[in-house]
Point group: D2
Chain length 267, copies 4
């Protein structure tokens, strides 16, 4: 696909030195069974799959079904996350456990939550836990709010990817503050992935059109009426958004006719 | 792709009794040359290609390059349109000419414009021309504003598809009034295709997520910095939006926690 | 109030040659009793009060309470409207009745509805009724959709004010398509008043900030939990929006720092 | 103004134990001269006026014009702010200086900025400075981002008012994330005032309609083409928004007709 020699190339996503063709990352919660989990994730094309250690068995409980049978590490990059942790200590402890369970696995998704209602991050605790984990050799992908200053701080601490929320976890509201997301992207030297808040396909496209490097979601797929079909939609939406970003969209104008700028008119 | 026996099927788009796998319709204007036109349209996956008779040569001028060499009727359904017509008479005349040039071809896209600045339709003239064309045996796909009453009227006249604008032609603003579009869709017994105003991939997804049967665009692809790459993005965006619509998105909530409705809170 | 000699003057609204200090027009429906009607309208500061002849008694029924006792024509300009009419004939008939009842009163608000669900106007019937009424010497303020071409057509027919909807009647959704409203305002030589769809104070301000000459509302006040307090809010909101429009707002920028335009960035 | 005995009362704003009738707080920067400053502030009705010690002379420089001649402390509550401070130490130092200059004045507005481009707050430094200042007996009104967790933390530290940004300082973009603002308001036991980002009158109304206790602005007034007229607009807009909030707006519906909810339809 090349309209001329200047056509942008579709490069892989690089996180912590590894390359991924897919820019869609998915979770494993809320599916009705492992069969649906497996099918949806396969259809999504995701190569990185995040697992909540607090909720999923990846070997801690030897007498229960193991999620990794449905999502084998041989096929996917497993990304253990600290969902359900409300303190830095707790989150650090969960990451250490994951490392043990997964043979010195270092890639983790850090989230330290601020309260149970909003599931917003606790930013001071997130900064603290990120420092500790980076010092201990973890490769930290970090869930954060959409504050550009904090996003930069997390990058400076040494996180390998910064993951601002689009909207509250599980809300399906889509990107609430695109200006913040774009500012985070402009400032970043590590990949920026929207995490949380995506509700439908266009939300994922919008994230990518803003220049994000990827999108992580769980509820939007697992909670849809038909998760496997939604997984297919999301795969295409992320690709569409990435390609549209690279293709260089037409500017917005009030009218096609000459001299009809929108700036200063309304929004 | 089926998560269970109830998974919705991806049915073809049916217009005037013919089936199309693609729900993306494209125009032929504004490309830099026929080579780019051909490549972009092929990449878009479109099966219906609209041609402005006032601007493009499809045989009227035997000594000039013929657009149909780049977009052969053997491969595409050619949809002659009346772009540039400002009266009902004018639009009807152009349709008759198309019918002659294309061997009793009956499928046309009617647009009667209201003024040169906005390129909004002239609704009374559109209604009049639609009646005449339907009476003469044309299969009329009709460009209209987003007024649900007018859309229904055009269906009742006998148009085979109704094509409300998302925003002004060439503006790239995306869907300005989703409530109107969804109301048109709810009321319709013929296909509803968003025509005009799409700017980037997510706009196309949004149109499909509202339940539209298809999207028609030209500038968003041809005017992009890299038209062929944008054509690929649009193909995926339309598919993603359609699948997301059928997959049944999660409801919007303020928070994932129980009882956090958004209605009545803000918007 | 003058910061210098160039400060814009707050001019009266002129409709059909009469001057009004208030730019807020209100309806009389849905109040719990005439006492509340009187108090809310007085608090709103409105000078033009619209009355639905199909629903309110202004003298047709001599044995029932007369709305004009609560809203006396000596104090207010009564604006009879054709709410509930679904044909041009019906609407014209109601206007003629109003003229009789109100001593050769000529100022009317024309609405011809398209269906009972949306309460959108029937545009062809509206155009027809407007022509008839103008020919018969009525001063026609006309409810219409937000199509700029139709708005201009109604002005050309001779309507004294054009009243596009912001959103469906009674929806409280606020202005759905500000680009259409601003285009109507730019093209107009008669007053443009937003009619229908206002939900709260900021919606009324937004209408005025777009350059509208006034706002008409009923449900937003009468349906509020505290109608009289909402009437006060709306009075201030309309004045605030008008003053902000004249005061010349700061341009939108991404940041206060130099060179941070928003155009082309997101929306 | 009372429609019945249940009508909400318009109570004063209470900050640090003092009552204010006005809920609009204004700055003093960017006016063309002290005369315009005085006139605009008087027209705004503001009772609390914030002053950037880094930029304005309130006595530090005895040989220069003193801003307090235009905005006398006998008439206004002066709110010294730390605009231009990029570290906690710096901000604390400026507050101490203000206390000296203003006779043991304790009410200050704390802002610790994160970078010069966005003027977003540095949240960790803001938390640190807030703690220090509260410990030293200051009454701290604090500029913050719109993160609900951080807003609560600042309240818990002992700040007397929390002031989330609506959008970047000086941007005029209006409230970018109303869900965050409303969540902050719901959680709060101290006054919440939107600070930064207001562009025009309706933006101020929206802030108040979300339940905020007040709005602080500077550029939106001082940078308008006609500052004094905009000051009048803002005064009315804040009052309108407050009254609309208390009056209880109608719910949003797709249509006035029964059973037309918006939830789950589009946004």
């Amino acid at each position: 696909m090349s309209d001329n020699e200047n056509t942008p190339t579709l490069k892989p996503l690089v996180i912590a030195g590894r390359e991924y063709q897919s820019r869609l990352l998915v979770g494993t919660g809320k599916y009705k069974d492992f069969q649906e989990t497996r099918e949806a994730i396969e259809t999504s094309g995701a190569e990185i799959v995040t697992v909540a250690l607090r909720r999923s068995n990846i070997g801690q409980k030897s007498d229960e079904p193991n999620l990794l049978d449905a999502v084998p590490p041989s096929k996917y990059t497993i990304l253990p996350n600290t969902a359900g942790c409300y303190t830095a200590e707790d989150a650090v402890r969960v990451c250490r456990l994951a490392r043990e369970l997964l043979d010195d696995h270092r890639l983790v998704k850090l989230e330290v939550l601020g309260d149970e209602r909003t599931l917003y991050p606790d930013i001071p605790a997130t900064l603290e836990a990120a420092k500790t984990l980076v010092d201990e050799g973890f490769e930290v992908m970090v869930y954060t709010n959409d504050d550009p200053i904090i996003a930069k701080r997390l990058e400076e601490i040494g996180c390998v990817a910064v993951m601002p929320l689009a909207a509250p976890i599980g809300s399906g509201l889509g990107i609430q503050n695109p200006y913040n997301i774009i500012t985070i992207v402009e400032n970043a030297k590590v990949p920026i992935l929207v995490d949380a808040g995506v509700g439908t396909a266009s939300d994922a496209s919008v994230a990518m059109e803003l220049g994000c490097d990827g999108v992580l979601m769980n509820t939007a797929i697992a909670g849809a009426q038909h998760p496997v079909l939604m997984a297919s939609a999301m795969r295409k939406a992320v690709e569409a958004g990435r390609e549209a970003f690279l293709a260089g969209r037409i500017p917005k104008k009030r009218f096609a006719s000459a001299s009809s700028p929108i700036e200063g008119v309304i929004r």
